[in-house]
Structures are given as C-alpha cells and as structure tokens.
C-alpha cells in the first residue's frame, strides 16, 4: 500500500464566503471616519482628537480587562470594542473631561456588552446605553451650548435642538440645512457633518455591513412624524429636514440603530423597528423632556426587538 498521507477531515460546507467579523467592524469604522475627521477633528481640533483617542483606547482596554477577568479568549482583534469606543466619542462634545470618557467606555463595554456575555449577547446598543446613563447622571456635560462655549466659528454655535426646545420654530429661523450638511453646526464630535454621515451610511448599506431596511425606516419614521407635527402646529414644531440633519439623528440611523445584536433581521420587523425609532426620536424631541431623543429612542426599540422577532415568516413546509 502506498504511503498514507494525513488528511484534514471536517464537515460540510467546505466553502466560506470569506466574510469576517473584524472586516465588518473595520468597514463600519472606515465609514465613520469622514464624519469624525472632517466634521469633528477639523472643527474642534486637539480636544476632539484627545477624546476620540482616549475613548477608543479605553474601550479596547476595558474589553481586554474583561476578557482576562472572565478568562475568555482575547477579543479586541474583532474590532468591536474599538468601534464602540469610536461611536461613543462621536456622540460626546469635544470638551468632555477624561473621566467622563473613561466612565462612558466602562459602562458601554462592561455593562453594555460584557455582562450580557460579550459580542452578540447584548440586548441594548452599548453606546446608546452608556450615553443615556451618562446623560442622566451628568446632564451638564451634554449641554452642548455650555460645553462648546469657547468655540467661536463663523456660524451659529448655539445647539440647534436646544434652540428649538427653548424658542420654538422662531428660534431656528437663522439656521440653514446647507450648514448642517457641511458640518457648520454645534454638536457631538462625529455628529455634525451631515454629508459625511450620509456617505458613510450609504457605503455601509450598499456593502451590506448594516441592514439598510433599518436605517431607511428610521429616517422615514423621523420624517413622517416630524412632518405630521409640523403640519399640525408649524409654530412649535420644526420641519422634518431640521430633525433629520441635527442632533444624533443621522448617526443614530446609520450607526446606532443598526447595531447587529440589538436589532431584528427580518424584513417587516426591521421596518417596524426602524420606523418606531424615528417616531420615538421626534416624540421625545417635540413633547418629551429631553432635547435630543435619539439614544433613548434607540434603547426603546432595542427593548421591543425581542417582541418583533416573533413576527417571522413561516418556515418551509412547516405543519401548523
């Protein structure tokens, strides 16, 4: 008998399409870069760079510490912690203090993700959860008017959503959508540059790294709800475009609501999930107590996601 070679034996299928978790997260990070680089770092300078770096690095560090503490394989290579850190920084004002950043990434990684069992187990978007907890605990650090008071650019530096809340539609007459799109507005480090966020989101939707159904349904939800309010009372309630291009709306639609683990995967549930998020966002902004409802709205839809999972197609040949 001829010499026996050792063969690898494993199970079908013997092909894989080559997709990787790290690739997925890396591309989401790429997609966020235009908004951060051009919108945030360029506009807000050194403090913003500091916040972003600290946020990404501490998020990865918390992940590593948790891996060690729970004696699990090191998972920072999958890019998820870095992504969480990056998205978290995008929502912060450029002048956020270091301890707020570190606390925030701790809440996001440890409480938002690792306690649920790590990647894929979290019921809530870790970034939204962390921002919401911090907002409730240290409200003042999310007052963009106070936080960014030292910036004096050539456009209106008052936070648009605060102006709307305080003065109604008459308070926002001086703003222009064009300014919002090119990043001439006050807000979080990565949340001001409309075109950058839209390009990033479009890229992710086309490549299939996020589920387009969620993003578009979310934006549609914001649009329709804001339009209805605006029709009923144009003096108090801003037009839909104002809502779409200010605050966390775009970043919420493309980067937060679409987080894999906390969102549904079937068509109809994705539409309901997204639309409900858009609806909640505008409801909180228009009649709620908070200036921007995006992160809270996302937590609410995270909460209804398991219910939405009950709506699902009948499996092939299922006997009822």
């Amino acid at each position: 008998m001829n010499s026996q070679k050792k063969l690898i034996v494993s199970h079908a299928p013997f092909l894989h399409n080559g997709s990787k978790i790290s690739e997925r997260h890396l591309h989401i990070i790429y997609a966020a870069l235009p908004a951060i680089l051009l919108g945030g770092l360029f506009r807000f300078g050194i403090p913003a760079i500091g916040v972003v770096c600290l946020s990404v690095s501490t998020a990865m560090l918390w992940e590593l510490i948790m891996n060690r503490a729970m004696q699990r394989p090191v998972s920072i290579g999958d890019g998820n912690a870095a992504l969480i850190g990056l998205l978290f920084a995008m929502l912060l004002p450029a002048t956020a203090p270091w301890w707020l950043v570190i606390t925030g990434t701790f809440v996001a990684i440890v409480i938002g993700k690792q306690i649920f069992g790590g990647i894929g187990g979290n019921a809530f978007n870790p970034v939204a959860l962390s921002i919401a907890i911090l907002m409730v605990s240290w409200k003042d650090f999310f007052d963009f008017n106070a936080m960014l008071v030292n910036y004096d650019p050539d456009f209106i530096m008052a936070y648009p959503l605060a102006a709307l809340k305080n003065f109604g539609v008459s308070g926002i007459e001086k703003y222009s959508i064009g300014d919002f799109l090119v990043g001439r507005q006050s807000g979080g480090i990565g949340a001001t540059f409309g075109i950058g966020l839209i390009l990033g989101g479009a890229y992710l939707m086309i490549r299939g790294f996020i589920r387009w159904e969620i993003s578009l349904a979310y934006l549609a939800g914001v649009f329709v709800t804001a339009q209805l309010f605006n029709l009923i009372d144009p003096v108090h309630y801003a037009d839909p475009f104002f809502h779409i291009f200010t605050g966390y709306t775009l970043i919420g639609a493309f980067f937060l609501a679409t987080e894999d683990s906390s969102s549904p995967v079937n068509f109809i549930p994705m539409l309901i999930y997204g639309a409900a998020g858009g609806l909640m966002t505008v409801l909180i902004r228009n009649i709620g107590a908070y200036i921007d409802g995006t992160v809270l709205a996302i937590l609410v839809i995270n909460l209804i996601h398991p219910l939405l999972d009950k709506i699902r197609p009948k499996a092939m040949g299922k006997v009822v």
């Binding site: 026996q4 690898i8 013997f14 894989h16 080559g18 092939m316 040949g317």
Partner: protein, 436 residues
C-alpha cells in the same frame, strides 16, 4: 472559491456553473487491482453461507451478504474476496466493506443477462448498485403507491457536473432508461427536472420537463420535488408519503444501458475538482480507491490536504485516499490545506446573513443559540429545525464562522436517536406488561 460580493444589500445567488466547453468525455480510469464495495449491511448480520473471504467472483456478480433485499453489492472486478470487514459510515450507518482483489482473466457474470426483463423483481435484485444508485424500495410498499417518478438532470451541489454531463451526452440512454422505468414500476407520469439552459431537445424522451432555477440550492431533491408538485412538502412527510420517487439522471441512464447491453454498467462518472477549482470528468469502476484515480491522473496529494466526496456544500471529507468510489460518488473535490476554511468558536453576532440566505426561511440566528446549548427539542419545536433542507448556505455565509450546518445535522441525528430509544423503551415496557 466563491467569495462575498461587493454589494451586500441583496441576497446573493450562487449560480450553478455550466459544463466547461472543453469537457466532452470523461477520462477513463484503468481497472483497479483492488475494489472495495460498501454494502449497507451491519457486519454482525453478514451470513457466511452467502459470502466469505476467499470466494471467487466474476465481474458483475451479485454478492449478497445477508437475506435482507438491499444487503448486496455488485462485483466490479473478477477475482477473490480478500476481506470482509466492518465499516462505520457517516452518522452511525453501518456498512460492510467487501474487497475484491483482481486475479486472472476478467470474466463476466451472467445472472443478470439471463433474466434481463424490466420487472420490479429484477430491478430490486440487481439494479440497486448501478452508478447513480437507483432505489426501488419505494415501489414495494402497497400502502403508499407511487404516482410520479422524478428524474433529476440537475447536480444537487455546486461545481458538480455529473448529472449535467449525463443529460447532455447520454440522452439516448436516459430515454431507454425512462422506458424501462415505466415497465418496471408501471408509473406513467415521469418528470425530468433540468437547468433552464438545458431546456431543449427532450421532445421524444417520454417524460415531461420542468426547468429549475440555475442557482443553488434549486438542485436539491427536496426543492425539485416541491417544484414538480407545485407545493411545499410538509416537513413530516418523505417523498414516498407524497407518492413520489426520485432518480438521478445517471441512475436512469445506467438502467437504460443495463437492459440494452444486458450487462450491469459499473463505471461511475465523477466530477473531479482540483485545488485550483478546475473541473474535469473521470469515469472509474465502482470500488476503485480514490488514490488510484489520483495516481492515474497525476494528482499529488500533500500532507493535510482535504479530500471531499460530493460537492463543496454538502459533501463529506474522508480520512484516507483508499476510500472507494461508491455508486453515488458524484464528485471528488481536493482542497489544499491553505484553502481549508476553519470554523471558530465565536458566538452569533446576529448579523442576519444566514437568515437572508436560508431557502427554508429558518430563523437561524435564534436557532443557533439553542443548538449551541444542546437544547435540541426546543430547537425542533420552536425554531423549525425540521424545515432545514441541509444546503449548508448558513455556514457558508456565517460571519462568525459558526459550524451551523454541522450543529443542525448533529441535532437532527440526536433527535432521531432519542426518538428511537423512546420507541425501544416503550416496546420493552409493553413486553414487560404482557409478561405479567
């Protein structure tokens, strides 16, 4: 080999490839020195009166190992039986491996040619080991009459082209085979399933023709039957319950040739896919060790390569290149160790790619959590485990590289075993009560 496309917002379709233009006839392999038949018969049931080591056999001779009607193989060489051994198959099936060592001149057996009548009796007695592995068992159950025979001209798996080849180049034999099938079974309604681009020239074939989609997994038997019947098959029903019997095109062509030549054909047509993904056809006698085929076609095997019998999505990898060609070995796929895709122990990240791919509309992202935890009964009850068509697409796309398909097969196997144990336990319980 087939990678994720740039655009990810729609469900990708993986097309079956047509036969390359330069492939016209299979390269014929020499007769091997040893041929091994895997007979579906547990080693414990082998009856020494029927066959034992040292017996002489002629080419085409039926070697029965036990009284059960299916427990036989057809000698593909003339020589002596050099070993009869236990051979555990996949998923707990038990085979007996019968090895024939060629000695002396080739002599043809005449048991089949002497009663070469297309009857059900002859078919069950002789045709079960033909290339393509036709099964006539379904026709022997009067409780469940068969009204439709489906002949598949589609290769179930990707890259395989054995059925396509048969359909393109052996149409006369298929035609004869269909006539024989009608005579054997008395079933008049015969349907030929083919890829859409092969939909021509079947005027006189004696069967109606149905075109399947050209994208995987349309060639899987269950989807073909579903298309022919025009409705979804309930998960608790087999083909037989629906009055349908399924044959591959190669099986039908083999039947046609057997009656025309009055000899059982023994050459299996195999798609060979090399490490670069080039495809060619070889024909080899059933029982030929794969290593022999490699040697003849100058294919070098390296340490830690992977040999897969069947296609890339549904085949199974083998331990040794001495594994023999079987009546249903449609393809041999060789993979370099560099290309072997590995699984990981990452959890499901709920990306939903599998759900979008699954032809059976199973919520795999939820199902997989139960399978990983070993909660098979819950998986079957609430998450549609039984709907799975075993296409492997979920594992193919899983970004976490979870061996989902393997979990599913394991779960089905475990549930089957549990059900069998339950039946056995009930039987003993009944026996005990009647004893008292």
């Amino acid at each position: 080999m087939i990678k994720r496309s740039f655009f990810g917002f729609t469900t990708p379709r993986i097309q079956y490839l047509p036969i390359p233009g330069n492939v016209t006839a299979p390269a014929v392999s020499k007769q091997p020195e040893n041929a091994t038949l895997l007979v579906p018969c547990p080693a414990g049931d082998v009856d020494n009166q029927l066959a034992k080591k040292g017996d002489r056999v002629k080419t085409g001779q039926k070697i029965s190992l036990a009284a059960a009607p299916g427990a036989y193989g057809i000698a593909s060489l003339s020589g002596t039986l050099s070993s009869i051994d236990r051979f555990p198959g996949e998923a707990g099936q038990e085979y007996t491996a019968v090895t024939i060592t060629a000695t002396g001149e080739e002599a043809l057996d005449d048991a089949f040619s002497s009663k070469c009548e297309p009857t059900l009796e002859t078919a069950t007695a002789f045709l079960g080991c033909l290339p393509g592995a036709p099964s006539f068992e379904a026709f022997t159950d009067p409780e469940k009459p068969i009204h439709t025979i489906i002949v598949s001209g589609m290769d179930a798996d990707l890259l395989v082209m054995s059925a396509q080849y048969t359909l393109s180049f052996r149409l006369e034999e298929i035609k004869a085979g269909i006539a024989n099938l009608k005579a054997i079974t008395g079933v008049e309604n015969i349907v030929l399933a083919t890829a859409p681009d092969a939909l021509h020239g079947f005027g006189e074939i004696g069967a109606s023709v149905v075109a399947m989609e050209a994208a995987y997994p349309a060639g899987l038997p269950r989807l073909i039957v579903q298309k022919v019947l025009g409705e979804e098959i309930p998960n608790d029903k087999g083909f037989q319950d629906l009055g349908v019997s399924f044959f591959t095109a190669e099986a039908v062509a083999s039947i046609g040739r057997a009656f025309a030549d009055k000899q059982l054909p023994l050459e299996k047509i195999i798609t060979f896919i090399d490490k670069e993904g080039n495809r060619s056809l070889v024909s080899a006698r059933i029982g030929t060790p794969i290593a022999d085929i490699f040697k003849q076609h100058d294919i070098r095997l390296k340490e830690k390569d992977r040999i897969i019998l069947g296609g890339p999505m549904t085949g199974h990898s083998i331990f040794s290149a001495q594994y023999p060609v079987q009546p249903n070995t449609d393809a041999i796929l060789l993979q370099d160790r560099e290309d072997v895709s590995l699984t990981s122990d990452y959890p499901c990240i709920n990306c939903g790619d599998c759900v979008r791919m699954c032809p059976a509309r199973i919520q795999i992202n939820l199902l997989v959590r139960f399978l990983e935890a070993g909660l098979y009964e819950e998986a079957a009850e609430a998450y549609d485990l039984d709907a799975c068509l075993e296409c492997g697409l979920c594992s193919y796309v899983c970004v976490s590289k979870i061996p989902i398909f393997q979990y599913i097969k394991l779960a089905k196997h475990e549930l089957e075993r549990m059900a069998m144990e339950e039946v056995a336990a009930e039987e003993t319980a009944i026996e005990e009560t009647t004893d008292e």
